[in-house]
Symmetry: C2
Subunit: 137 residues, 2 copies
Amino acid sequence: MKLVTRDTDYALRALCYMAGCQDRVVPASELVRELGIPRPFLRKILQVLHKRKVLKSYRGQGGGFLFMMPPDKIFLFGLIEIFQGRLRLNDCFFKKMACPNTGSCILKKKIDGLERYILKELSSITVASLTRKSGNG
Amino acid sequence: MKLVTRDTDYALRALCYMAGCQDRVVPASELVRELGIPRPFLRKILQVLHKRKVLKSYRGQGGGFLFMMPPDKIFLFGLIEIFQGRLRLNDCFFKKMACPNTGSCILKKKIDGLERYILKELSSITVASLTRKSGNG
DNA sequence: ACAAATGATACAATTATAGTATCATTATTC
DNA sequence: GAATAATGATACTATAATTGTATCATTTGT
């Protein structure tokens, strides 16, 4: 089970890197060089972030990307939604079951609880919160 | 993101059904009929449960499956491990990163915390706990 | 004009999930 | 002892998601 797929991961890394570039327009080529992400894949990701209005883009020489949304408003939860769709732990689980006698009710409650908890935790993580200089590992 | 894949789901349903058959040997055919699970898929699942010593099996006419482990010792967490491998939220996430400056440390802590929480929750769910007559949905 | 960038989009490879099919073996029943 | 109904072992297939690649058009600065 992956909480976060590669594209979300790459998007997060790219955004975190960009957060350290105070308002400088950053071209994909730089991100590729610095982060070692395959270029066409990253470009696709950046285009998505642009369409979703997370980033502004500038074309032509000297162009690149810039935040459209402030980094403290970019939530990991939001990136997951963009690249992986809505987080649903319950997906295939309670479709057919229709609570035949018992069990699923208890289970559903538990899993819904888990989902809420995960969402809450993920909603506390932003690009900004990850780039504050406080890591020590 | 799926917490539980189809095979884990089917396994759980089958086990819950069997828990209501007090020590009767239950053949796959009955589970197929009652639960609407594709026969060959279910058979594969039951064979795995047998190999993992969750179920005993009896061959030949009148044969089928019986619990080898008591239902209150069969954890959803264990079924997930059997069919989906070990639960790791962090999987691809912190392999290459190597904590370049900051960020990953905070994130790793958060995600590890999430993982622990999920594990704890899942460890409270057993086949027995799901078949106690107390559902109301 | 050229170079360096993004926009749009289609294609491809790999992996995971979900499911099928077949044949051998065992045990019960008639 | 043959028919039947079950599991054991195992190989195969289909579908979908993930993880990319490739190409060409367009924009912009020099």
